[in-house]
């Protein structure tokens, strides 16, 4: 029988051991960092593909009025395209997990990052170049609206950093 024990002095796969010195060691360190960076990028891209697929499904399923069983408005193509743009604007070297897609009754599309009880951040778009956001950070709360131009507004990234420091 074997017993699993936590490794408390092991290096993370993303940390190059700092026991070497000299130019060869420096070169290896840079090479290792590049491999890890590419690995993370591929992993993140895979997760983006999954979220985009789930966005496609939501758009298909919620394109007719009343899709929620009540009186929800259809998700519009503008909302779909803006959500796609928002997801692709998320930082690739990601400190944040990919969001959950949730259709909203007014025809908007919400993205939610749930981290725990009263630890959640949500944004919503409707194809109007605006990001409506709200978040619960324990006892602290925030909400507002930001113009969504060419890049993701810094307020959105800052709020995600509050959740994923």
């Amino acid at each position: 029988m074997s017993t699993a024990i936590p490794c408390t002095d092991c290096n993370s796969i993303s940390n190059f051991p700092s026991i070497g010195f000299g130019t060869d060691s420096e070169g290896l360190k840079k090479y290792y960092a590049k491999i890890i960076s590419e690995f993370r990028k591929a992993e993140t891209l895979g997760r983006i593909d999954e979220v985009l697929q789930s966005l496609d499904e939501v758009f298909q399923e919620c394109s007719e009025e009343g899709w929620d069983g009540y009186d929800a408005l259809p998700i519009t193509m503008d909302a779909y395209l803006e959500t796609e743009r928002l997801i692709k604007s998320l930082p690739l070297s990601s400190f944040i997990p990919m969001p959950e897609i949730t259709p909203e009754p007014d025809g908007g599309i919400g993205l939610e990052w749930p981290k725990g009880k009263r630890l959640v951040f949500a944004v919503s778009v409707k194809g109007k170049n605006e990001i409506v956001y709200a978040g619960l950070f324990g006892m602290n709360k925030t909400h507002g609206i930001e113009y969504f131009g060419d890049t993701l507004p810094s307020t959105i990234i800052e709020n995600l950093r509050r959740l994923y420091p």
Binding site: G69, D71, I101, S124, H143
Partner: protein
């Protein structure tokens, strides 16, 4: 039709699969967002009745009429709703039906309140 007491429990029937998380049986904010047609959120008053009776109400008064199956329900205390400056108004028929009213105009405020309600609700999968 009696006024809703803060001690009552309200149930929001869920017919959309992207409004809850099967992984931890929690509910998302969109489940509580107001209906765009009337600005209210439809709920049922379920205090004093069994789980079976609650599901029966959902099947009879929501699923059958909307021609969509009930996937679950989010139960929340009326006091939680009222604490957010919202009102719960009995609107019958159907029996036990009520609407959450008084939502703010600003959507960001609506989402914030809906996030809080979702965090305080108990989801029951059908």
């Amino acid at each position: 039709m009696t006024q809703v007491d803060p001690s009552e429990t309200l149930s929001r029937f869920i017919l959309q699969k992207d409004w809850y998380r099967p992984s931890d049986n929690s509910v998302k904010h969109a489940a509580f967002m107001p209906n765009p047609k009337n600005g209210e959120t439809s709920v049922f008053r379920i205090s004093g009745i069994s789980h079976k009776e609650v599901w029966d109400i959902g099947d009879r008064e929501v699923a059958k009429i909307r021609n969509k199956p009930i996937l679950g329900r989010a139960d929340i205390g009326a006091s939680n709703v009222m604490a957010k400056d919202l009102k719960v108004l009995p609107i019958e028929p159907p029996v036990r039906h009520a609407n959450i009213t008084g939502w703010p105009e600003e959507k960001s405020k609506q989402i914030l309140i809906a996030l809080e309600l979702a965090a305080e609700a108990h989801f029951h999968k059908k």
